[in-house]
């Protein structure tokens, strides 16, 4: 079985963003159960994308519909937000749902 752990928190969780995981990652890597994972930048840095009627619609920040649940994820690597928007807009789910693009925390861009 594969499982996705969706790590959630309110705004106050941002202060723990550089805390590390107290050896959890190392232990899980040793056990071989971690396939991939990353921390995300805060929702304020997010952009949400929908395609409706062939038009790409953007909003600043996360899409605030509590009815919507995360149904999947893709990790992409590309040049800038314009390319990320283009990639997201081509995903079929952008045509019926929404895709939030959130930058991943990386060591060289703290």
């Amino acid at each position: 079985m594969r499982y996705l752990l969706m790590i959630c928190g309110d705004e106050t969780a941002a202060e723990h963003q550089h805390d590390g995981c107290g050896g959890w990652s190392e232990e899980m890597q040793r056990r071989g159960v971690i396939l991939d994972g990353a921390g995300l930048r805060p929702p304020g840095d997010a952009t949400t994308i929908r395609v409706r009627g062939g038009e790409v619609l953007l909003s600043d920040g996360p899409f605030a519909e509590t009815k919507e649940q995360i149904g999947g994820y893709c990790l992409i690597e590309c040049a800038d937000l314009d390319e990320a928007i283009d990639i997201a807009a081509r995903h079929p789910a952008a045509g019926y749902g929404t895709i939030e693009v959130r930058p991943v925390l990386t060591p060289d861009h703290p």
């Binding site: 930048r41 304020g44 840095d45 997010a46 952009t47 038009e55 790409v56 619609l57 953007l58 909003s59 600043d60 920040g61 040049a79 800038d80 937000l81 314009d82 990320a84 928007i85 807009a89 693009v101 930058p103 861009h109």
Partner: protein, 444 residues
């Protein structure tokens, strides 16, 4: 009294601030550093131009001063080899920035305009950032202009710069395949800014910056930087033609003065001439668009010596064209007003009745207000009174309410023969307000 040097620095600030900041952002990639170094350069000018004289090219002098300051700061604040390399890069002659997939447009201010107006940023943040970085308005002035506390505006600016950096929004003029849509977005933001200044009715505040004038400045820069884009010229023309009427739109008691009652002698003849000339230049490109058409409509009004001289059939035709580009019910309502003037109130009423039946403008006070005017001109005073009351219940601002109250009170007391031709209030242009931001979404 201001000395020659102070006058020169103030002039350079108005003319060159945006260019200096825009260039420094490209060189350093750091928006805060760019602003701070630009500020330092202007402060240095105030101190040294007394001694050394005013340079022949103040903009180049200021950019060099700001760049040197940035190099100093990067050197001093970091010990990392990477940062030193960055500083060394800036010592080299200005690199050609156009190897990055830009559309081949070379002005840094254009990069800055497009980046500020990136649709992944919230609209109110876009306009605030454009004002801060391109026109040099202070955070306090921008806060005052938007009637928000200064810390709120400061926070908004910090946040938007953080998003640009963290989300990886590129500093560039978009590549060709994105350019048409992004240009539309930029024009939309500038017009939004203009309307914010044009329609704000927040009481007399002499220190409140003139946002409409700032929007015109930016539109002028954009039109100059995008000479092949007739809609940029069209937007500039539209702003000038509307701005020409700014002093006559509201009476001394704060009442909205309809177009046909405005004192045309007080319209700004210089702006009208510049607006119509700009529009003619745009139209020669033979690529009409919504801003050029709206400017043409504004020109019809601005060049009519008396309300009775207004070319209403022409305006009705232009609204027809506009509807093809922007098929919205508000445009349709404006068309109904023009048709009502060109072909009589019965023809206009038929169009507004159809709009009312569609239900798409429910809650929009100008629909019942327009119907009321038609009904009044047809002598159907009881129905007109009902429609005025409907409009009053929906009207947002005090100026609009007082206008409608006056119309309602005047029903049946004026001589319909005298007033039948030109008393329809022309509804506002179809604009989006910054207040509507919960509903606005950027389009790429």
């Amino acid at each position: 009294m201001a000395t020659d040097v102070e006058t020169a620095v103030a002039g350079a600030f108005r003319e060159e601030w945006g260019q200096v900041v825009a260039t420094l952002i490209r060189m350093t990639g750091d928006w805060d550093l760019a602003e701070e170094c630009a500020q330092d350069a202007f402060a240095l000018a105030l101190r040294t131009w007394h001694r050394d004289g005013i340079p022949a090219r103040p903009g180049a002098w200021l950019t060099t001063a700001a760049r040197n300051r940035a190099i100093d700061r990067i050197r001093r604040e970091t010990v990392g080899a990477g940062k030193l390399r960055e500083a060394a890069q800036m010592l080299l002659p200005d690199p050609d920035p156009d190897d990055s997939g830009d559309s081949g447009v070379r002005d840094d201010r254009l990069r800055l305009i497009f980046t500020c107006c990136h649709p992944a940023l919230a609209v109110e943040a876009q306009v605030a950032l454009a004002l801060r970085t391109l026109t040099g308005l202070s955070t306090a002035e921008i806060a005052r202009a938007f009637l928000v506390p200064e810390p709120t505006m400061s926070q908004r600016l910090v946040r938007v710069k953080r998003k640009i950096r963290n989300a990886g929004i590129p500093y560039r003029v978009p590549p060709t395949h994105l350019l048409p849509e992004r240009t539309t977005a930029v024009l939309g933001v500038l017009y939004l800014l203009f309307n914010e200044g044009y329609s704000a009715s927040a009481g007399p505040d002499l220190l409140r910056p003139d946002l409409a004038a700032e929007a015109i400045r930016l539109a002028r820069v954009l039109a100059r930087l995008m000479p092949d884009e007739p809609e940029a010229l069209g937007l500039l023309a539209l702003m000038l033609l509307q701005h020409a009427r700014r002093d006559t739109r509201v009476g001394p008691d704060g009442t909205l003065v309809p177009l046909d009652e405005q004192d045309r002698g007080r319209w700004d003849a210089g702006e009208i001439t510049e607006g119509t000339t700009t529009l003619e230049t745009a139209l020669r490109r033979r690529r009409p668009g919504p801003y050029q058409i709206q400017a043409a409509i504004a020109a019809c009004h601005a060049t009519a010596a008396r309300p009775a001289d207004t070319d209403w059939p022409q305006i009705a035709g232009l609204y027809d064209e506009l509807h093809k580009h922007t098929p919205t019910p508000v445009v349709e309502l404006n068309r109904a007003v023009a048709v009502g003037m060109a072909a009589g109130p019965a023809a206009g009423l038929a169009l507004t009745d159809r709009l009312a039946a569609d239900g798409v403008l429910t809650g929009y006070h100008l629909l019942p207000a327009t119907r009321a005017d038609f009904l009044r001109r047809l002598g159907r005073h009881a129905e007109a009174a009902d429609a005025y009351r409907d409009a009053l219940a929906l009207a947002g601002t005090a100026a609009e309410r007082s206008y409608l109250t006056r119309r309602l009170a005047g029903l049946g007391t004026t001589d319909p023969g005298e007033n039948s031709s030109a008393e329809v209030s022309v509804p506002a242009d179809p604009v989006r307000r910054i207040d509507d931001r919960t509903k606005t979404e950027g389009r790429t």
